[in-house]
Each structure stands twice: as C-alpha cells, then as structure tokens.
C-alpha cells in the first residue's frame, strides 16, 4: 500500500516542522522576539548539512549520480547534522547581535529583510548551492545497503522521532529552568526585567541563537529526508507557516508548538488533494498555480482567524504554581533553615541578610 510510506514521510516532515516551531517558540513564545526571518536559519542548516555530506566532486558516487555541484566534503551525516546547528546558530548570532535591541516592529522588518538577503545570497552563490537548480544528490543516511528501501521511510521516521523528542525534552528543560523564567520575564516586560538586574540584551541574544541552532538542525533533517536541497524551498511563506503552527498550538508552550506543526501539516497536506476534486480540476488544468495558491490563501486565512479568534492556541501556557516544599500558607517550608516564620505582617525579611540560612550563597 503506497499510502503508508507516503503518510510516514509526511509525519517525518511534520515533525521537522515541529522542530522549526519549537525553535520559533523559544524565540517568540518564550522570549517575545518577533522573528520574521526564521526560514533563513532553516535554509543555512539545510545547505550546510548537504554540502558537508555530499560526495566530493570527482568521487565515484559523484560520477555515478552525474552530479554537477562544485563543493562536497563527503563527511558522515551526523557531522552534517551538528554543523547544520552550528550554521544556524552562527547566522542567528550575526543577525541577532545587531538586531535584538530593535523594538518589535523594527525587529520584524529587519529579520524579514535579512532572511531575504540570505536567500538572495544563497541563490546567487550557485557554485555552492546549485542556485536556481539546487542539488539533487544529498545523501540519505543508511539508504545504501544497511537498510532496505522498503523499510527506509520508517527508519528515517524513527530517527526523526528520536531527535525531535530529545530536542523537545531539552527545550522544555530549558524553558522551565531559571533561565527560561528569565526569558519569560523579558517577554512579559523587558523594562521591568532590566530594572531587576536581568541582562536583557544578552538573554535575548541567547534565545535567538538557541532558536537558530534548533532551526539549523531541522534543516539537516529536512534535506537528508528529501535528498534534495534547493533555494526555492526556503521562501518567506515557510516562516509564516511556522508562525501559524506556533500560534495554533499555543505560543509559549513547547508541546503546543510541536502539536501546532502536526495540525498545520494535516491541514496543508489535506488540501493537496483538492486538485482531484472534479469541480476544481478544470481550473487546475488551466492554471497550474491554482491548488498551491489555494493552499496559501488558506494559510493566510488561518493566520488571520487564529490571531483573531483563537489567540491562546490549543495548549496555552499556564502560570507556574509554587512547587513542592513550599506550602501555600506561607509557612516555613519543610526542611527550613532556621529563618523566622513567615506568618504575620510584622516580620520583614531583612533585605541584607542571608537568604539561605547560612549556606554559601554563590
């Protein structure tokens, strides 16, 4: 049944979008950065991973594929994966170092403009990227020999699930950590966070770069899944599809981001079959852009609708309550260190006193 491998491939792509959404969620949902250029990190990650893993020109595999690209390093795919993250992170560092201090509107415009510049550069550096034609022989791990072709999509899906799950776990850990709390304070009110001593420019840059690294990883998973990399895959609408995923799933919630991507993929791939509907097939034949354009109209309408009617998303972010060890009555927690009881209004915790009952405070 040819449908199953197709669905498996689709699920793989959905998870990759999930990773992109996870990255954008860290930048926007958690830290409040308006990144309208997300696709650029995806793109450099994909190209970095492809170029680094392509068989070198002149090698047997190159000749066998009748390839025409000029740069390939022939390194193993895991190396490509790691370098993709580095590439995404470095680009984010370059863009972020100059832009994160811009206020929201301007950050949106600047990131959008820089993504377009990146796309322009990638298109024109055709010695590296294959320009208008792309590169079609990106290695797909395990495909030659170790894993039979029939099992391959399932194997790749399994690998993708593992990678995305691991990165999701790391991201959640980060978001729930004091670092994540600091990022959220920047999002909620940067002036107040700064007045409390948080180094907000640095925090923003860190989140931006972390998002870039994750998006770079997504690029690597993408290109090795498809086996092709082409600059036309990285158009601005990709950025906004990821935005839709984050907003639908629940901005600020890492699980929401991944879920939103799955929902998005279901919707956009579901419309793929519209061209087969008898009513529309006449239109489709006269205008081949019809169905893809319809999909984009749908994405635009969804963006508008979600923002207007469903802004909190499927899995909204919830405020975090006090955890174990601190009781709501304000009493001294179990294992208390000899601090004065918290009851009663008269006892002010001395501002200058040690807060940790004698333990060393770093």
């Amino acid at each position: 049944m040819a449908l199953l491998p197709f669905l498996v491939g689709l699920l793989t792509l959905a998870l990759i979008y999930g990773l992109l959404a996870l990255a954008l969620n860290l930048q926007f949902g958690v830290t409040g950065l308006l990144n309208f250029g997300h696709v650029a990190f995806f793109a450099v990650g994909a190209f970095a991973s492809a170029i680094v893993t392509l068989p070198p020109p002149g090698s047997a595999a190159y000749l066998q594929a009748a390839a025409q690209y000029h740069v390939g390093l022939g390194l193993p795919v895991p190396v490509g994966f790691l370098l993709a993250g580095v590439a995404g992170g470095v680009l984010a560092l370059l863009i972020g170092a100059t832009s994160v201090r811009l206020s929201s509107h301007y950050l949106a415009v600047a990131t959008f403009a820089m993504a377009e510049i990146v796309r322009s550069v990638l298109t024109n550096a055709d010695w590296l990227t294959g320009g208008e034609f792309g590169i079609a022989s990106v290695p797909q791990p395990l495909k030659n020999g170790a894993v039979p072709a029939s099992v391959y999509p399932y194997a790749y899906l399994a690998g993708t699930v593992l990678v995305v799950a691991a990165l999701l776990a790391l991201t959640v850990r980060l978001t729930e950590s004091p670092y994540g709390r600091a990022l959220r304070s920047v999002r909620d009110d940067e002036t107040a966070a700064r007045a409390l001593g948080k180094p907000t420019p640095l925090l923003k840059l860190g989140a931006f770069v972390a998002g870039g690294v994750l998006a770079g990883f997504a690029g690597s998973l993408w290109t090795h899944s498809l086996g092709v990399v082409h600059v036309g895959q990285f158009v601005p609408i990709v950025t906004f599809e990821v935005w839709l995923a984050v907003l639908m799933g629940g901005s600020g919630n890492a699980f929401g981001a991944v879920l939103g991507a799955l929902v998005l993929m279901t919707i956009t791939q579901g419309t793929r079959f519209l061209g087969d509907v008898p009513l529309l097939s006449g239109l489709t034949r006269s205008n081949p852009s019809f169905v893809p354009s319809l999909r984009f109209v749908l994405i635009g309408l969804l963006l508008i609708a979600v923002v207007r009617f469903f802004p909190r998303g499927i899995l909204p972010e919830r405020p975090r309550a006090p955890g174990r060890g601190v009781r709501r009555g304000g009493a001294v927690p179990a294992g208390g260190s000899g601090d004065p009881p918290g009851h009663g209004a008269g006892t002010a915790p001395a501002a200058g006193a040690r807060t940790d009952g004698g333990e060393e405070s770093p």
Binding site: L170, R173, L174, S177, P178, Y179, R181, A182, R184, S185, R187, D188, D189, T191, A192, A193, R194, A195, L196, G197, K198, P199, T200, G206, A210, P319, R320, A321, P322, G325, V326, R327, R328, G329, G330, A331, V332, P333, G336, S337, D339, P340, G342, H343, G344, A345, T347, A348, P349, A350, A351, G352, A353, R354, T355, D356, G357, E359, S361, P362
Partner: protein, 272 residues
Amino acid sequence: MNGDLRRTASAPTPGAAPLGPLLSVERLRKHFGGLMAVNGASFGVREGSITGLIGPNGAGKSTLFDLVTGVTRPDRGAVRFAGRSLTGLPPDAVARAGVARTFQTPRIFPAMSTWENLLAAGPRHPGESLLGGLFMGRAARRRERALERRAAELLAFLGLEREAARAARELSGGQRKLLSLGRALMTEPRLLMLDEPAAGVNQTLTRTLMQRIRDVNAGGVTVLVVEHDMDLIMQLCETVVVMHQGSVLAVGTPEEVQRDPQVLAAYLGGAT
C-alpha cells in the same frame, strides 16, 4: 579610607553613624528636545534613612529616577552609590549594584504567576544562564531553593499567599503594587527607590504599604520615595528633598520643608 571600615557588602548596621551619603546625585542635567527636565540637581541620601522626594508636577522627579537607575543618560553630572559611580550604566547594571526601583504604574510580568514573578527577581542565580539552566548543577539548585524560601517569606510579608499560583495579570492594582514591592525586595537591594507607591491606592492599602516600607527600612534598606501624598511623606520620611523646575529647592525634615517659604511658593505660587 573611611569607606573600607564601614561594613560588608550586604549587612549595613542600622543606626550606625553615617559616613557619607549612600546615594549622591551631583549636578545632574538632562534635556529632552528643548525642555530642560533636570537642571543641576544635587542631593544625597543618607544610608538607613527613608528619604522623600517631592515637588510639583514637572519638577523633574521621574526624570531624576530614570537618570539614577540608568534608564536615561544624563547630559552632565554624576550619580554615585556606595562609593562607586553609576553614571551612564545601563539599568540592569544599576540594579545589580544594589539599587532597586518600582514604577508608578506597577510593571508586573502578566503571564507569569505571582510566585514566579518573585522568583524571577532573585539575583545572582547560576541557573539563569543558558548552560546553567540546562544543566542545573548543585549551586543552581541550592540558589533556587534559597530563592523559593525567600519568595515564600515575601508572599507572607505582603499578604499575597493566596495569589501565589494566579497569573499576575489577574491581580488587582493594589496587589500589583505589593507584588512590585516584593520583587524589588527579592533583589536584596541596599537602596529601594519607590515611584509614587501610594498613587491610586486606597487608604487601607496605603497604611499597609507605609508599614511595610517601615519594616523594610528597619531591616536595613535605605528608601527613597517619590510621592504626592503629603501625609505619607510627613509620616514616613526623616528627610525630604524638594525639587522644582529641575533642581533641588530645599532639603530638610518634613516640618522644616513644610514651613519653607520657597517651597510654599513653588507649590502654590507662580511657578509652572
């Protein structure tokens, strides 16, 4: 040098003989467009005191706050705190030096719970770096527990225990004022700068706030408060600085300042 003998960084002794102001503002000047908002203002805040900063609208009090806390850079003049210069430092550096401030309209973190608002304010946390947060070593976990204990104390001190799990955006105006006071205290400041803490607040809460401010001061924190509520100023402050048209008009006890003819003229008479 006098300064070395005084105290350790975090435990000033209340009641010890002052050896120079904790905060000193020296000939600060700031203009916006054509307007001279602060024009050669100078004064000092004694350590351990509750000092009031008053003046008619447009006197430059808010701008002065912004100049001290690094929100705006002065055109001229200097800000010194505990022996070091704060002039031109960004707001987060000023805060880390031990100066905490609240805002006239409380700036809480709306999507975060009351509890998290307090925790977020905790200073010097190894878990607040990207790698620190990811790995959460022993020092970070210890700091987190210490901050949790302090946050619990502050919740009780401020009477906000029942709101701990609620998103801060759901708090009433008065509760937000208390929360922002709590957050400022979490930073363990030496100087607490309060920008109109009683503005828009009912009588009962004002009394509560005043008592809390006294308690905080009793614990060793120096307080500088901008207020329009004269009762609050008279009852709380041992020293009052009066600003007018960007510079300091008078400094003295509340009674002295109340009787000062220049002050009276500024408030009642011809000026702006």
